[in-house]
Amino acid sequence: MYIYDDFDRTLVQERVREFGDQVNRRLSGELTEEEFKPLRLMNGVYLQLHAYMLRIAIPYGTLSSDQMRMLAHVARRYDRNYGHFTTRQNIQFNWIKLKELPDAMADLARAGLHGMQTSGNCVRNVTTDQWAGVAPDEIEDPRIWAELLRQHLTLHPEFSFLPRKFKVALTAAAHDRAAVKIHDIGLRMHRNGAGETGFEVIVGGGLGRTPFIGKTIKPFLPKRDLLSYVEAIMRTYNQYGRRDNIYKARMKILVHELGAEKFAGEVEEEWQSIKDGPLALDPAVVADIAARFRYPQYELLADNPSELARAREDNRFRLWLDNSVTNHKVAGYAIVTLSLKPEGGPPGDATAAQMDTIAELADRYSHGEIRVGHEQNLALPHVAQRDLPTLWRALDGIGVATPNVNLISDIIACPGLDYCSLANARSIPVAEEITRRFRDLDLARNVGPLHINISGCINACGHHHIGHIGILGVEKNGEEYYQVTLGGRADDSAELGTILGPAVPYAEIADVVEDIATAYLELRARPGELFVDTVQRVGVDPFRERVYAAR
C-alpha cells in the first residue's frame, strides 16, 4: 500500500488544526450553520437523524492493520463501538459529537486517516478495484494512478467548491470491479497496439435521481496526460455545470444537456491549452509515487498445498473456500473476502472488537493489509493458501465467514431511515429480513450470484439502479413503500434496472424478493444461467406477472 511521507502527514495534520479552529468558531457562534455546513461536509461531517456522522476516507479501499486498529479506537472512544463500511470504500461513524470531533480527527491523523473530501461539493474519495495489485486479471496496479489523482485533487484550490459532488473511479482489470461507468469520471486502463498502457476516459455516469451510464470521450489517453485531462474535464464542469438547481448540478446533467460530443469538444479545447504545462506527468514523478507503494515479500509457494486438501474434507470450510476465496496473481496465495453480511445483521457494519481481530489476523496472515470493497465487505489480500484453514476458524469465530459473498444475502444497503435524515424509508431491516429468508445457503447457492441493492431514498447511496434486484424506499401517505427494479448491473455491460411494477409496502418487500427468486428458478434456461442474464433474456414481464398475480 501507499506509505505516507512527511508531506502527506503534514497536510493531514494541518487540516486537523484548521478543522479544529472551524469547529471552535462554530461552537462560539462566530460561524453560522450556513457557513459551517460546507466546511464540515468537506471534512466528512454530516448531521443525521440523531447525531453527527463522521465519514473517513479509505483511499482506494486499502487499509493497514494499524489504521484498522485506529478505526476500532475511534469506534470505542468517540462512538458506540461500531462503524459502517460504505459503498464508496469509506467508513462511517454514526454517533460522533461535534465537540469531540477535533480530538477524534487528531487521533485518526496519527494513523494517516482523515475525513477530507468525503462529502461536500468537491472531489470525493477516488475509488478503484478492491483487488488492485493482487488480481490476476489486471494489466498494472491502478493504485499508482489513483494516488496521483488523489494527491492532485486533494484541497485543489480551483475545484473545492464545485456545482456538486464529483466522483472518480479507476480500474486496470479485465473485469470492472470499480463500476467506472457510473462515475463522473471513470477511467479504464487498456494496452494499445504499441504495448503502452493508457486510459479510456468515461464521463457523465452516475446514479441518484437521474441515473446515467457514462460515455467514453477519449478511447486512449496517454499516461503523461492523466492529470491535465482530468483538470480540463473539471474546469469545463466548474464553469458550465449548473448551479441554479441542485438536482441538475451533477456533471452527468451537463454531459447530457450538451451531448457527449460537444462536451468532449469543450474538454479537448481546454486540454490543448494545458496538456504541455506543469501537469504533464514526468516519468520520474510517477516512479517516485510508485516507489512509495509497499508490496509484500511473497514466499515461493505452490497452489493447493496439502493443508488445503485436508481441510476441504470439512464441509463448512469447503463451502466458505468455494464462496469467499479468490485467485491471487501469485501462486500459493489467495484473496479472502470477509462477509460483513451476517444473517439478520446490518450490511457493512463491523464492531470495534471485530476490527481489532481483523487487524490482528491481517498482521498474521495478510502482510498487515486489509481491503474495503464497494460491496461493503472487507478482504485480506495476501493470504498464503496453507493458512486458509486456520484463518477461516478465526474469521468464523468473529462472525465474518458467512459463505454468502455475491449471493442473494450479500446485500448492499445505505443506512436508510434508521440513521439518515434524507431517507424516506428504512433499508437495514429490509436487508436483515431478506438475509433471514435466505438463511438456507443451499437455497441461496441454487439461486446463484445475485446482487440486491437497497436505497432508502432517490439519492441512491445503496446503488439500487444497478442492483440485479434494486429496491428503492419511497414514502406514500406517511408509510414506507418499496419500488423494485430488475436487471441492473454495474459490470462491463452496465445497465440500469427496469421497474417491476407498483411499489409494495414494508410488510411485503421480503415476500416480493422471495417471489422473484422463485420465479427466476422457474424461468432460467438452465441452472448456470445467472439471474441477471435470465432477466435480460426474458425481460421483466414474466417476473411482473408472477409477483403481482397474488397481490
Binding site: Q48, L49, H50, K97, L98, K99, A350, A353, S421, E432
Partner: protein, 104 residues
Amino acid sequence: MTSPLQQKLKVTGPVVVTANRLGDGAVVYRAADGTWTKDLAVAVVVTTTPAALELLAAATTEKVAVVDAYVAPVELTTQQQVLPGNLRERIRSSGPTVALPGQG
C-alpha cells in the same frame, strides 16, 4: 428527500418544534420556558399554524444552541401523553429500529 426542513408549514394537528443540539447532535424539543429538552413530554405542543410559526421563529433565533429547527407532528394519547407523530420522528426519538451491532 422530503426532509421536514423543506416542507411548507401547514399544521393540522398537534405539533412540537424539534432540532438537533449543536454540540452533540442529540434530538431536542422546544420547552415552554424557551429552553431545549430531550424529553418530549416537556415539549410545548401547539395545534395551529400561527402558533407553530411563532414557536419556530423563537427557536430559530438561536444560532448556537441547536441546528435545523423545524415543526414535527406529535400524537396525543387519551391520557394526554405526547408521542412522536410519524416513523421518522419515532426513530429520532428512540433511535434506530434495528439492534446496534454488538449490542443486540
